[in-house]
């Protein structure tokens, strides 16, 4: 199979093209914009038969996406950071509509301070919205993830929207070799959208998203969303298996790397996990039994697969590329909860926060994190959570602060 060099953004656009999307409500934001530009070019050249509408905000964009999916067409949309939060009200709302569509989020740190570089606070803010979440680590996974996401979203046991996440810059603007799936094979894997009972038609009146009075009907419909998300965990293996057979590429809910005999493992999501992989290789060369566990699916939370992957490990270094101020890393909390009450000796968890706003996580830091996790395991006691920041960075910050605070700093600005 031949591979083409594609950025993560163009891979996402290819995913949408191969999925035969019919409708693209759009709004620009860096680093996502290349996705909608690519699709709009294909629409103009006639390579794609899709209607694109540029809304005036992401709030409207998500509304239009959900409304069109509820009306029975296959919808794709994309955004990033501030845009995802601007549309947040409608993420919850359209998930409640049980509108199956796919949204690609290109992760980018949230304001303030404003930045363009990635971390996962944007996507994690949508964690409890009812959208399912797939977190990609490579450009290939982005393309594959979009196809898998439609199968999940549209499955009649699920019927929920799905976010496919990739990291800004590190994937969105980075070219990697990607196998562009054969269109006919993609169409066999993902047949045209069967909207079932969705849709607005004359003669078949439908009331959607009506108000409820009281906690009972409200609870009922919210539980339905939860149960549908749990169904997604159940149907995922068969969809992923079918994908593997059709295209020869696995798409696991949880990726494990050199884990089988590992005593210490890193747990990380997204493209920064590739850095952890490289660290695992180096540590292995040095004779250390280290591995990596990477949740690809975050919602539904693949508890069973994670427990299986983490069973028997002594120390776990959870590296969160997000920060819940006043609590710490979000993934750390979720992993702790998943391991709670498991049979057998429980691994010791060490919590690290790193990679915020695209901050590099250096090779030595991975070595240090593995060492901390190993020591903690030996002592049988979880260490204090750590925020990655080096002495050199601290010095550099002091320099920047000195400039910022200096009188006349404005005049000296180039």
């Amino acid at each position: 199979m031949s591979r083409t060099m594609l950025t993560g953004n163009v891979a996402a656009a290819w995913g949408a093209r191969l999925a035969g999307i019919e409708y693209l409500p759009a709004f620009p934001i860096t680093p996502q914009t290349e996705i909608i530009e690519t699709i709009s070019r294909w629409i103009e050249t006639g390579e794609m038969d899709c209607r694109m509408t540029t809304l005036e905000s992401e709030h409207s964009m998500v509304t239009a996406a959900g409304a069109a999916a509820a009306a029975g067409v296959r919808v794709f949309t994309a955004t990033s950071s501030q845009g995802l939060l601007y549309g947040m009200e409608m993420l919850y709302t359209t998930a409640g509509w049980r509108a199956p569509f796919v949204l690609v989020n290109v992760s980018r740190g949230l304001s303030s301070p404003i930045t363009l570089e990635p971390d996962h606070n944007d996507i994690l803010a949508a964690r409890d919205s009812g959208f399912l979440q797939l977190h990609c680590a490579t450009c290939q996974e982005v393309l594959d993830g979009v196809l898998v996401a439609y199968r999940l979203a549209e499955d009649e046991r699920v019927r929920l929207p799905v976010i496919v996440n990739m990291d800004g810059f590190h994937l969105s603007f980075t070219r990697e070799p990607v196998e562009i799936t054969d269109a006919a094979a993609a169409a066999r894997f993902l047949p045209p959208f069967d909207p079932g009972n969705l849709g607005f038609r004359a003669g078949a009146p439908l009331s959607e998203a009506v108000a409820v009075l009281g906690g009972s009907p409200y609870s009922y419909f919210r539980y339905q969303v939860h149960l549908a998300a749990l169904n997604a965990e159940a149907v995922f293996p068969s969809i992923a298996g079918e994908f593997h057979r059709a295209f020869g590429r696995p798409f696991p809910a949880v990726e494990t790397y050199r884990c089988d005999d590992a005593e210490v493992v890193f747990v990380m999501m997204g493209s920064f996990a590739t850095k952890a992989k490289a660290a695992v290789d180096r540590l292995r060369e040095a004779g250390e039994a280290v591995g990596l566990v990477r949740p690809v699916m975050l919602r539904p939370f693949p508890s069973a697969a994670l427990r299986e992957a983490l069973a028997g490990k002594r120390g776990i270094a959870v590296v969160d590329q997000n920060l819940s101020p006043g609590r710490g890393g979000v993934l750390h909390t979720e992993i702790s909860a998943a391991l709670q009450g498991c049979a057998g000796p429980s691994p010791v968890l060490a919590s690290f926060v790193g990679g915020l706003g695209g901050r590099e996580i250096a090779s030595e830091e991975f070595c240090e994190m593995a060492a901390v996790a190993r020591r903690a395991a030996a002592e049988g006691r979880a260490p204090e959570p750590r925020l990655l920041f080096t002495e050199a960075e601290r010095k550099e910050m002091r320099n920047l602060q000195a400039i910022a605070l200096a009188r006349g700093a404005r005049e000296r600005r180039p």
Partner: protein, 311 residues
């Protein structure tokens, strides 16, 4: 409007299509207007609703609508109409639905959303030339949350967030003009107490395509503090005093459809509503009453100076 099928009151629909027994207050002017609008638009519609009083029309498992309904949020009902319309067009073009199954997308929104939070979404749909009807029932405040002042609240009115002796210090925004500046296919003001005028306008809007505004003054017994039985009279007084000019925009021109020959003094409209009681009691606030009258007169003078033709 010579081509109308509504020549006299006798031509109006005899029975309402919209079901009764809803959670709206007795004498709700918004609901009265909606009844009349729905009679003409009919059930081949999908109503996309913004958060407000009318959201409680459809409470699970009941709905008074024979056609379809989608509740969206406070800010983005027009975007919901965009998604539904775009999807219907896609389905039509691919033959997945027949033209007979097609629906008209109708936004149903209060003023708080229409004049404020939802304005950007509405502006976007007009600019994109969306084929839809936008119905705003204007009760001049955030009614559902207890009548706080909104961008549609008139000068001097008491609301739950303007309780002082001079009432609301701001001025009502001119949403009709905001829409007209976008050059929509059609825009009209209506009130349920003028059913013939309303019916003709809905009929006309129904026959057009593109973005169409129906801005209905919605006398609100609960928020405006008057006896529900007075709703129709207050609507009529709004027209006869010139507070609520009945007009329409079509083909680049604004036309007054019901300009009163001689306008009644504004205070006849104000004194029958509790929300203006502080202008009369304990003593008359001559300054404020004069200001309000002057605003109405100025608006009409401006219209007349532009030589706006009257039907």
């Amino acid at each position: 409007m010579s081509e109308t099928r509504f020549r006299t009151m006798k031509d109006l629909p005899a029975a309402h299509l919209l079901g009764t027994g809803t959670a709206m207050c007795a004498g709700c002017g918004g609901l009265e207007a909606l009844h009349q609008i729905y009679d003409i638009l009919g059930e081949k519609t999908v109503f996309i609703n913004a958060a407000g009083c009318m959201t409680l029309l459809a409470i699970y498992p009941y709905t008074p609508f024979g056609g379809s309904w989608l509740y969206s949020a406070m800010a983005s009902a027009p975007a919901g109409a965009q998604g539904v319309r775009d999807a219907l067009d896609i389905l039509l073009s691919k033959g997945r639905i027949s033209p007979e199954e097609d629906l008209t997308a109708v936004v149903l929104t209060g003023d708080g959303s229409a004049y404020g939070m939802g304005l950007s979404a509405a502006s976007g749909t007009i600019e994109r030339g969306l084929d839809f009807i936008y119905v705003c029932y204007d009760n001049e405040g955030y009614g559902n949350t207890g009548q706080q002042h909104s961008g549609a609240t008139p000068h001097g009115a008491r609301t739950s967030t303007s309780r002082g002796r001079s009432g609301f210090p701001g001025f009502k925004k001119d949403l009709f003009a905001v829409w007209v500046s976008h050059r929509p296919s059609y825009a009209a003001t209506v009130v349920g107490s003028e059913p013939l005028d309303l019916a003709r306008k809905i009929e006309k809007a129904k026959g057009l395509r593109g973005p169409r505004l129906i801005l209905a003054l919605a006398p609100c017994p609960t928020g405006w503090d008057f006896d529900p039985a007075e709703a129709a009279r207050i609507g009529k007084l709004a027209v006869e005093t010139g507070v609520w000019p009945l007009k329409e925009y079509f083909d680049g021109r604004v036309t007054f459809t019901r300009a009163p020959k001689k306008r009644l003094p504004v205070e006849e409209y104000l004194e029958v509503q509790g929300r203006f009681a502080h202008l009369f009691h304990p003593r008359r606030n001559e300054v404020l009453l004069g200001d309000i009258q002057a605003q109405v007169d100025a608006a009409w003078r401006e219209a007349e100076s532009q030589g706006l033709p009257e039907k």
